[in-house]
Symmetry: C2
Subunit: 397 residues, 2 copies
């Protein structure tokens, strides 16, 4: 569906992956990023109050190392979540063993896990492979793709995006996993962003928050926020360009990479037939627009209508009505594609076949005008198909 | 699934129903309750800000008549919603014509509509049948069942519940429609409760609010609150017993009727395989317990796991974690049936087959203990099946 385009490798990073036997499928499930000593980092984590061990450990390590990261160790096939104090100890041991092999401080190893929850992490399977994993790291695009493959769970394909920086020849490159739509099986959204600019952790943090707000925070998660969600941005400094001197270009590149990955996540959702570009216009402010977009895109009735390519705008209108925003019905208009289908909360006469055709596309456009102000945003969401239910009803049984 | 048991007919009411040709299926779709002149009323309406014409008209009429109702006119097959000012005029005309035939004030006619939205109400089809509808009204249980049939849309069966009052020989009887789980196709939950006690509208209102809080407000609606939801309580006064003198017994009977109807609505949901009795215990207060129950029962991941009778408690835990309540993970326990499956947010060892068996029952029990306080409640919800998606994806196309 989405072509990641050419892949640019920021300097200062090596990648590695192998099969450690954690996944029942026997596919690759252990992955590593090695970064140069001066590498700085910023991370955003899930807002769920139930968090997996690697989220707790990763957050603490970043604080301890003052935003320095030299290695990222990721396993798929096990989320190390709801594993209690033992889970924390297991995660720390993986970090310590990785650090020992590299002769760095354990707080400079950033851990991630994704997969089934409530099952103890198979620590031996991981630690016994660390030597091989470290020694086989390389800086080719092949290595990068292998890393991207090894972090997947229910995803159907790896997710990469890459944008070169004109000034100085660096790049921003991102790798993501997540099966979109919502967070299926709590399979976790993990995103690793690497760049070779020179930046402090605080500068990275500012850029990362801004980019995530306009990408990963604008995709439809049904509220089933994962316990493991992590977005990590690493800057090696290897191209010698200061982020501050190319801030505008850097932020634009970072946003482009994040948006591409966000869209790849949505499009790869289980059972997804249609990606919906939902535009909210004339809201009072951005928070209000987001609340309306979420009310619409979390409605089962709206999502199932989209699955049938059904121009049933009444369900969208009703979702707006119970969004919690004090809407004025007679100011609300709804568009499917370029056609207005509802004006002032009343039916318009419109071409139903054309509307059905728009909704039958792999990517469809829907617009809701609130008549309350000047804020607008675009939210990416999906339909809800019977296939989705089948996949998720058959998970662990 | 549910036997309404013997039906008691409160004195002072007659019922009627017929086929007016509004439903494409040709089934009965116009229904009437005739009540004695002194009948008092209280009503609760949808909290959606987009409301159908009959909700606006009904609310205004109750205010104008100071809580007096002598007739309830209901059509199915058309919701008269998103029909603008014309919808209001159409609804008023139906009320006025009904009133003229009965020689009563139009404000004493309470209207309801349920069915497709955005389509003008076929007023002539209704008004041309009013004479026949009025003249065929009767006070037998047959008449009551015919009324219950005529207000259905996607429901698979009529919903009745009835409890006799020991003191004075009266009764509380309720008729409901709604296809549970959520409000499918915005098909509206309509509930009519009739009793023969003597009560002021204010007294009825107090009792009705209390009963609804403990019944219809404790069933899983996915937030897709309908534009037409209405619960109406009528008291004919025909048994001469003052509500105030039997308040405790009356409130208990009313709650029992409402709870039975609520459960019938949930159990009749589209594609529902399992009704879930979700118990939240040790919450700080009732509002908090309700917020947690709703977070769990609106989670697609939880609902699809239930569809597969999958004892995947991690999804329940994650839903609690993003409920918005400041939970302490190490105090949370989860039970499936009588088995503890998670203690302090960590996996317990438990009999997976027994848990799968419990979740395979038509009615299953799940309990979440918060360790925060003493409030508890029981919430009725359902699984989400592929059949549900099919039904709702095929609605209007």
């Amino acid at each position: 569906m989405i072509d990641p385009g050419p892949v640019f490798l920021p300097k200062g990073f090596r990648f590695s992956a192998l099969k450690a036997g954690i996944k029942a499928s026997g596919k690759s499930d252990l992955a590593l990023i090695l970064a140069e000593p001066r590498t700085t980092a910023a991370a955003l984590f899930t807002r769920n109050l139930i968090v997996a061990a690697p989220v707790e450990v990763g957050r603490a390590s970043l604080a301890k190392s003052s935003g320095r990261v030299q290695a990222v160790i990721v396993n798929s096939g096990n989320a190390n979540c709801a594993t209690g104090q033992k889970g924390i100890r297991d995660c720390r041991r993986v970090c310590a063993e990785t650090a020992r092999g590299l002769n760095i401080h354990p707080a400079e190893v950033f851990p991630s896990s994704t997969g089934i929850i409530g099952v103890p992490l198979p620590v031996e399977k991981i630690t016994s492979q660390l030597k091989l994993l470290t020694s086989s790291a390389g800086a080719s695009t092949d290595h990068l793709w292998q890393f991207a493959e090894a972090i997947l769970t229910t995803d159907s394909k790896p997710k990469l995006a890459s944008v070169p920086l004109q000034s100085g020849g660096g790049a921003v490159t991102g790798i993501a996993k997540g099966s979109g739509m919502i967070h299926p099986q709590l399979a976790t959204m993990l995103v690793y962003l690497v760049t070779d600019v020179v930046a402090t952790p605080a500068e990275l943090n500012t850029s990362l928050r801004r980019a995530c707000d306009d990408s990963f925070n604008l995709i439809s998660i049904d509220g089933d926020t994962s316990t493991n969600d992590t977005v990590l941005l690493l800057a090696s400094g290897a191209n010698g360009i200061r982020l501050q001197s190319v801030r505008k270009e850097f932020d634009r590149a970072l946003l482009e990479v994040c948006r591409s990955l966000a869209k790849q996540i949505v499009a790869d959702g289980e059972g997804v037939q249609h990606v919906i570009r939902l535009r909210i216009e004339q809201a009072k402010n951005r928070a209000e627009a987001l609340q309306i977009a979420r009310a619409i895109s979390h409605s089962l009735l709206v999502k199932t209508a989209w699955a049938g390519a059904d121009p049933n705008w009444g369900r969208i209108l009703a979702a707006v009505g119970r969004s919690g925003i004090p809407v004025h019905p007679n100011k609300i208009s709804i568009y499917i594609g370029d056609q207005m289908v509802c004006r002032g909360a009343v039916a318009c006469s419109f071409d139903k076949n054309a509307a059905h055709e728009e909704l039958s596309k792999p990517e469809c456009r829907i617009k809701v005008r609130m008549g309350r102000g000047k804020a607008s945003l675009e939210f990416l969401t999906t339909d809800l198909s019977a296939e989705y239910v089948r996949v998720n009803a058959e998970y662990s049984t």
